[in-house]
Symmetry: C2
């Protein structure tokens, strides 16, 4: 059975899920031996350890060895990866792309589905790789870099497939000519890929943010060069290795998918992006480099996820404790290093009404601080939620942020069992006034949050949505018992292109974005120009070349 037929049912479910946007998931997020095999956890860890301290074999044409990843948990990985010169890499991608471009939609989509399937089987290996590059705690690394990222890949494949099959392969065109014979043309339509697609990855969610672009570009027939963040190469190297194996098995040149590893002091992303041989650029990373990529890529076809400043607006609640706990978790998860994590919590100066009676501004702030303390009271649980700090610069940012406001809850290191050298920091919570926008008006990536005193909920919504328009935002969260406030916020945040969550108090958090349901990033504010995943993310990755032939009358 072909790869396509083997995975067809799952593909069709995925297409349907993208349409309905109800809950659906292909890859189980539970790291259970019953699902992944009783030895999967141990096998994954062993496989990871076997990679440490050695050159990584990608079976490609790289000539130099690069790579200096250091786990935020403390140890250097000691893995090097073969690197080729950009010109060589692009040349080989173009060459490999010729037969890939000519393959049928089904053959290409089948290969992509098989790659994701095999990646899924390596979820525990990828979890270890992600843990020791992103610094996420193991369970989060498993879910975010494993099944959740695989769902995102499948979502992108489903969108690509659906978009390509919307173009008919043939058409019979018969134009009436009054009493005469009709003019008849046989038409056919061919999907033409763009060429070489460059995917520039990030350090915090290398697979989750990279897979949509990788698989959308592959499915639509482009060759893909993956340029991982120098601090998080391994998860994408494993991905590329698996992809190359499947491509080869299916009879394609494995250089359809290659890796362009680099080191922080000898970066290659700019040379690749500015190369005229690159037709598509996908980027996840900082707004500063995002701007460079948008302005300097040789191609006009650039998809970015940059960054923003996410807000929580607190107006009122009928579950004060649930609200504070929910916010505490959102601030703590992966130490605030998610592009969806909130930074700014807007609270009216007059306080709010709750099921526990009126709470003053100060009471709200300290209740959130206490909820964080409660959540992180147990050191093991704390370590499992917070993980570590991916980048030294983030740790320094936390230190520098203390002077930006009144400290409601201070940040502190958190011990991680077994990793004495882990770089950690729990959330820093600061109280500031609305006018202190030099503090809260900038993105402060990491476990840094502000409780901002405003005149009213109206001002809170206005400040949060204006900030989103100016600096970007991916998420917003609202707590209110008033439908009118929900309507106002829905209008303001929709116009600012921000995904709004309302009254989350249970086991779901504003940080979470589900494949097949939540549109991640709107593309409508500076947080990014594209969405994971919608039609616009895939439709321009290929073009249509028509042919028409006069039919003998």
């Amino acid at each position: 059975m072909s790869f396509f037929e083997a995975h067809r049912a799952r593909l069709e479910q995925a297409v349907e899920a993208c349409r309905s946007r109800s809950y659906w998931s292909a890859y189980p997020e539970v790291a259970s031996g019953k699902i992944y095999g009783e030895t999967a956890k141990a096998d994954g860890e062993a496989a990871f350890k076997a990679l440490l301290g050695k050159p990584f074999d990608l079976g490609d044409g790289g000539t130099r060895q690069v790579g200096r990843e250091v786990s935020p948990f403390g140890m250097a990985l000691g893995i090097t990866y073969p690197a080729a010169d950009p010109d060589v890499l692009i040349e080989s991608a173009i060459k490999a792309g010729e037969s890939w471009a000519r393959a049928s939609i089904e053959d290409r989509v089948g290969v992509c589905l098989e790659i994701v399937e095999r990646i899924n089987r390596q979820s525990f290996l990828i979890a270890n790789a992600a843990m020791h590059t992103t610094g996420q705690a193991f369970m989060m690394a498993f879910q975010a870099a494993g099944p959740h990222a695989q769902d995102r890949a499948l979502e992108a494949i489903a969108y690509s497939y659906d978009e390509m099959i919307r173009v008919p392969r043939t058409a019979n065109w018969s134009k009436p000519q009054g009493k005469g014979d009709p003019i008849v043309l046989d038409k056919s339509f061919r999907i033409v890929p763009r060429g070489v697609s460059l995917v520039i990855g990030c350090a915090t969610f290398p697979t989750w943010n990279g897979y949509p672009a990788i698989f959308a570009s592959l499915a639509t027939g482009n060759s893909v060069i993956v340029k991982p963040h120098p601090g998080a190469i391994l998860p994408l190297a494993i991905t590329v290795k698996i992809g190359r194996e499947v491509l080869k098995e299916a009879g394609f040149d494995p250089n359809v998918l290659t890796l362009a590893p680099d080191e922080a002091d000898a970066p290659v992303a700019q040379e690749l992006a500015a190369h005229p041989g690159v037709a598509i650029v996908d980027f996840t990373g900082s707004p500063a480099f995002g701007q460079w990529v948008r302005e300097n890529s040789a191609t006009g076809l650039v998809f970015t996820e940059e960054a923003g400043i996410n807000a929580i607006v607190i107006d009122s609640t009928d579950d004060f404790r649930g609200m504070c706990s929910n916010i505490a978790f959102s601030l703590s998860l992966y130490s605030g290093q998610m592009c969806t994590a909130p930074q700014n919590i807007f609270v009216p100066a007059a306080g709010i009404e709750t099921n526990d009676g009126h709470k003053s501004y100060d009471e709200v702030a300290s209740a959130i601080g206490s909820a964080i303390d409660r959540l992180l009271g147990d050191p093991d649980r704390a370590a499992n939620i917070l993980g570590t700090i991916q980048n030294e610069a983030t740790a320094k940012r936390v230190d520098a942020a203390r002077k930006l406001g009144r400290i409601v809850r201070d940040s502190a290191p958190v011990p991680v069992a077994g990793f004495d050298q882990a770089r950690t920091a729990s959330p820093l919570l600061l109280a500031v006034d609305a006018k202190d926008d030099r503090a809260w008006g900038e993105e402060r990536f990491g476990p840094i949050a502000f409780v901002i005193r405003t005149e009213s909920t109206g001002e809170s919504i206005a400040l949060a949505s204006q900030s989103a328009r100016r600096k970007g935002a991916i998420t917003a969260s609202l707590y209110t018992t008033s439908d009118a406030v929900i309507d106002d916020a829905a209008d303001a945040f929709a116009r600012a292109g921000v995904a709004l969550s309302v009254n989350l108090t249970g086991g779901i958090y504003v940080n979470q974005s589900a494949a097949f349901s939540d549109y991640h990033v709107s593309g409508a504010n500076p947080a990014g120009n594209a969405c994971l995943t919608d039609s616009a993310f895939v439709a321009n990755r290929f073009r249509v070349a028509p042919m028409r032939r006069q039919k003998a009358a």
Copy 2:
């Protein structure tokens, strides 16, 4: 009945036609009194004449009067149009866009469909307006600027509608939690327009090339500023006027659709395109200005149709006379001023096999020349096919081109009954060698064509497809009796992003591109970065703003 309900059946047919790409047309191309009303032709002409020599009333806030259109048939139109400063125009478009953005998909699409319907009723007025700006003969102006353009508008509306309704309005998201209660979220998804859309029109097909962008942007909720070519304002001014009337009737601020007229020596397109208030730019025109627009627009969302060099490859034929007649018509129609018109005719030096026996290179060239003479032998018919030369520069280009090769057939003026001052030129046909690419390798817009002597059909295909990759091309045409040659050409032109027509000998021409069936421009070579119309043309004109709300358990 709402506008949407009134036109719903037609919309659904249009959506289906876009999918099947079989023949379909909503607006009859036959300029018949039985269809458009017995007095429609006379009424249209009278309405046109009533506009001449006066300020055009758009009912907008323009403060200056601009406009110096001169008919290529000889007379100055003497019409002026109200012009506003770019800042004022953009401000009013933003303001008007607020309620337009909030309108339902159905309300917006209904308004768009009604506008096209009313434009259709004014097809004879628009035909006169197009004739005396583009310089097309009346019948062509009627079809291309009238019903064909209206079909293109409907196609863009259908794509926009289909794309928007692919996003569900609500979803119930219920995530199982093992033995516990599921997590349930009520989700809703809102279509968020980009903002202000600028459509920069061209002089040769102002409505046909402008309508897709205008209606795709309107349907998806954006305000539209139409910046017509200074030489062809009237057809778009009539369009905007009708649009504003319908918007007003439907209760919207008519400034959702405004005109930004200018004069050649005081252009406003650059100021508008570079304005940060403009979110989408659509451009049809020269590659030089197209490049400026792509590189300097404030927004990254730019759709262009620029220009290319279209080729005919002649390998062999079983209908030599039909082939020559067909090519002659393609070269003559609107004096080669179509973006789809061929310029380069590649013929092997050894000649070709035909149903009339072997024909040498010279015989092929002179047979095409003779076919042009035959086609244009009757002066009335000649005038009806050729129309006039829109731009003085094109006439000069024809004169200058004579020295580029051996003249097979010379260009000459053609009398137009009733218009002594008409600027006309029949096709110039030159014989050159493949190595004379300084002659044929540049776009020579207008009635200028080359018969290029190549070593072989293989070289013909290679040269034509390489030229398309380098300089752009929208169409290619092939004559051959060999399926292998068809396959080779299909591969080469598809990879170059060129729409290929094979063995056209009857009443259909390579220049013609049908709405709902032919994808016009691939977006895959320098002839343009977008296609009329596909998903990619509409999908990025709006974004999705999600909202999710925790449901009480």
